[in-house]
Symmetry: C2
Subunit: 324 residues, 2 copies
């Protein structure tokens, strides 16, 4: 099957919102009146972002989810995306499953495929996503102020725990692994929460390389520091509820490693003034997304960790870097 047949079979669908979709030299798109276009691009590479034998349907989900997560971090409403795909061969069954996972998530967010590219090469998936956000209202990394609360959505660390098992570093009971693996392979982008945080969050980003490393981007962009309660963050690992049941116990240090520097969480970390705590709770409720207060923005630069009794915890949790 040729390149154009492949595109037609798996990736050509009529567009509803865009003025022009797949099939011409360019797609045509316009944000609504008074709206800015939020744009983000992510590239996923075999052996680095996913294993060669990953379920292609889950991969289709994840490739779009990581981009939706960037829109969520800006508070943007998803509109459309382009998909560039390098494939070692034209495998019809693989592509059908990949497209199924991709479009299921795209449809759930009203986000349509408008263009892209396919070529032959080592498996590589590059999605560029477009959302719209009222002009001047995008959530940025630079607005955190001393005294602001620090929040994180959902759960942390499960994806990393699953990765440790898949890499043979750790063993987990099957039902616990299944749950953690779900978080690794099918992350939930917090799109609804992001849109609820306009006018509430002073800064936001999505946690993809590990909580502390990503939080450092907010602190740097805002020129502030922070104190994080690790007793709270350690409870954010979703599978903790299952571990007692499954009769397995985790080392506290492993849990801190996974929750603070795990990576692949795709949760939102954000800051908001204490006066807006009920507004944050309202945003969490309106978006049906759990949100936990994990610390405080401080004027002094740097990231300090404490336990539940205020005792200092050594920070040895490095963020993920693709070149280190």
């Amino acid at each position: 099957m040729g390149e154009f047949d492949l595109i037609a079979r798996h990736f050509t669908r009529p567009v509803r919102r865009a003025a022009l979709g797949v099939g011409d030299d360019c797609a045509l798109l316009a944000p609504g009146p008074g709206m800015q276009l939020a744009i983000s691009s992510d590239m996923l590479v075999e052996g680095r972002h996913f294993f060669a034998d990953v379920d292609p349907e889950a991969l289709g989900h994840k490739a779009l989810a990581v981009n939706l997560s960037d829109l969520a971090a800006c508070g943007a409403r998803p509109l459309a995306f382009t998909l560039a795909l390098a494939l070692p061969r034209a495998d019809d069954a693989w592509l059908a499953a990949f497209a199924r996972g991709l479009f299921a998530l795209a449809d759930a967010h009203g986000c349509e495929l408008v263009g892209g590219d396919t070529t032959c090469g080592p498996l590589n998936i590059c999605i560029t996503i477009f959302g719209e956000v009222p002009a001047g209202q995008a959530l940025l990394r630079s607005g955190a102020r001393p005294g602001d609360d620090i929040y994180v959505s959902g759960t942390l660390g499960d994806a990393r725990l699953a990765l440790e098992v898949l890499q043979g570093q750790l063993a987990l009971p099957e039902e616990v692994l299944a749950r953690a693996r779900q978080r690794l392979e099918r992350p939930t982008p917090r799109v609804a929460l992001g849109q609820q945080l306009h006018g509430i969050a002073s800064s936001a980003l999505d946690v993809s390389d590990g909580l502390l490393g990503d939080l450092a981007h907010i602190l740097q962009a805002s020129g502030v520091g922070a104190c994080i309660d690790t007793t709270v963050t350690s409870k954010l690992i979703a599978i903790s509820a299952y571990t007692a049941m499954a009769g397995c116990q985790f080392d506290a240090e492993l849990i801190r490693q996974c929750t603070l520097a795990g990576g692949d969480d795709y949760e939102l970390a954000f800051t908001a003034p204490p006066a807006l705590r009920s507004a944050v709770a309202g945003a969490a409720q309106a978006s049906a997304t759990p949100v936990t207060r994990i610390g405080t923005v401080e004027a002094a630069p740097g990231l300090r960790l404490v336990d539940g009794r205020g005792q200092a915890v050594a920070n040895r949790y490095a963020s993920f870097d693709h070149f280190q």
Copy 2:
């Protein structure tokens, strides 16, 4: 050097037109009032789109040029682009040269880098580009009508000739190869011409996979056929002026192969009614871009080739397909 240092060193520059550039979860961009955003994405893979030992500065140029060429084909004005890059290693000198070639062309077109991604993996370059075009005025593939003239800009076939030499299939005098290689490695996107063709061209696209194969997309989208004069197209190979001088002669069949199905030309092919011939000439002059009339749109489907005396020429010129 880590991922974030790499981004900062080579790819972070202040934005002028976009509301927000590199460094947050999303870039922010809005087309002007009454404008649509034209979007295109191209992925370049080592060993397929370029050789491993290609000059990185030329590669930076070409990676953006192929995307600018898509904007040109829509008649859009370039605004911004994202760059996603998978690199086998963080090679500072390579990246500096790549960035130099990329930004030289970007600056020449007022097109700014607003975001992207870097990761470790087999070399892969994915650029998504954004331009603006007055709403409803984008040049599409679907507007060709029987009786329209068919045009192509610039020259055809030189890139393919250079590729044949680099692959060891053919020998060329050094000065001739240098000229052909320039066309392969540093194509000129016809951005100015595309913008001059609003209201003149009935259809347009950029020639990237070979003239006949690409032209077939216009014919299919427009529901028409065409007749092409191969005596005219065979003269469009730029180096023909040099071949006599260099004392080398080419087989007519090789020239037809290169000009009709060469690929990597990045010229515009477009159609326009005969009544607008002087308008086409004006657009060519205003954009300082040579344009040649090469044939006619016909009602009967299919692509017919003739020579200068109207004699049929067999069409055995297949377009490039990444999976065949």
